[in-house]
Amino acid sequence: MAAFEDDLLALLPRLRRFARALARDAADADDLCQVALEKALLGRASWQPGTRMDSWMYRIMRNSWIDTTRSRARAAQTFVDAEAGLGVGADGGAEARIALSEVDVALHTLPDEQREAVALVLIEGLAYKEAAEILDVPMGTLTSRLVRGRQALMAQLGEAA
């Protein structure tokens, strides 16, 4: 039994890195890790020993992140509806982003579906096939998201990229 937790613990540094690429900041990223770990512990019955735990966990984390952003989006929508009449429309995240590095900023201008593909392949170092399986999309979809995401990043990061 303990082997399951030990394997998760060994994966944790990589999971945190993936979360950091998905979430807006370090605190959100660790919250995301916590949610994903909770799901993994509760859903351990769905883990098949002998298969790749990293892929299993990346998938759980990515799905958790989608759930989180969806509920955030709903909350934000409510906020805008309520406040629109008062003319509050500025992006509250703008100032916070000043502190982020150029790479973080560029990454977060990508649509989510491109960012997750970039994160899995370029940051986590997975093969296309593995990334496509985690994201549950055909290879062609993965490569087209990946190439668009990369071209956008190269354009933004310029020569330095």
Partner: protein, 228 residues
């Protein structure tokens, strides 16, 4: 011959088979712009990987690592600060009961608080009543210090009575006694020693607990549903 952007990217990532790779290499040889694009793809990978590499080198925050340590295998949610004040209250409840002079033991059995069923000890009488109906921190001859769920998902309650302290977990037959410690005569007259006695029950409860102790709302709900 045209090389589409996906194929060029896949080449840069080493994702092509040998035949396709050869095709791309021939195209690159004829078009320096393609070679540049490959270099840009690789530089981007290096830059992103390098940017995020330190995250994987950071020490993992305790709150995450703690979720994976053996003691808390079953925990469904947060396991942190919340348990500390609860135990402080429990300690305080025990201390209060001692100050009130609840001491010196008849066994639980002598007081009609225990019955046996299928060779196991279950709470009976006033103890069963208290476990069924009292919320934590209520006054009474039997006090319930804390309620939690164990690894099997059953409700368990830490109680302190005149004769003994213990832990009982609810099952279809009633409140199964999992831990009891008789209230020692000498220990019960001494505040400090009594405190160390309840540490045994405390430690046992901590071992059995999955997740956090129930808060007042959760406890009231659990009572309303008959501790099932």
């Amino acid at each position: 011959m045209s090389i589409d952007p996906e194929m060029l990217m896949a080449y840069a990532d080493g994702e092509l088979g040998p035949i396709e790779a050869k095709r791309v290499e021939r195209a690159i040889a004829e078009d320096p712009a393609l070679a540049e694009e490959v270099a840009r793809h690789r530089a981007l990978r290096t830059r992103l990987a390098g940017h995020f590499a330190p995250v994987a080198e950071e020490p993992v925050p305790d709150r995450l690592a703690a979720m994976l340590r053996p003691k808390v295998i079953e925990l469904p949610v947060r396991k942190r600060a919340a348990s500390i004040p609860t135990w402080t209250r429990w300690g305080a409840a025990v201390a209060a009961s001692l100050v009130l002079g609840l001491a010196i033991g008849h066994g639980l059995q002598d007081e009609g608080m225990v019955r046996t069923e299928a060779g196991q000890l279950y709470a009976a009488g006033a103890l069963a009543d208290a476990l069924d109906s009292q919320l934590a921190a209520n006054q009474g001859a039997v006090r319930v210090a804390v309620t939690f769920r164990n690894a099997e998902g059953r409700y368990c309650r830490v109680f302190t009575a005149r004769a003994a302290d213990g832990i009982a977990c609810h099952d279809p037959q009633g409140w199964l006694l999992r831990q009891t410690h008789a209230a020692g005569t000498a220990a019960r007259t001494d505040y400090v020693q009594a405190g160390s006695a309840d540490a045994r029950v405390m430690a046992a409860a901590q071992e059995m607990m999955a997740g956090d102790p129930l808060d007042a709302d959760a406890e009231a709900k659990a009572r309303a549903s008959g501790w099932r």
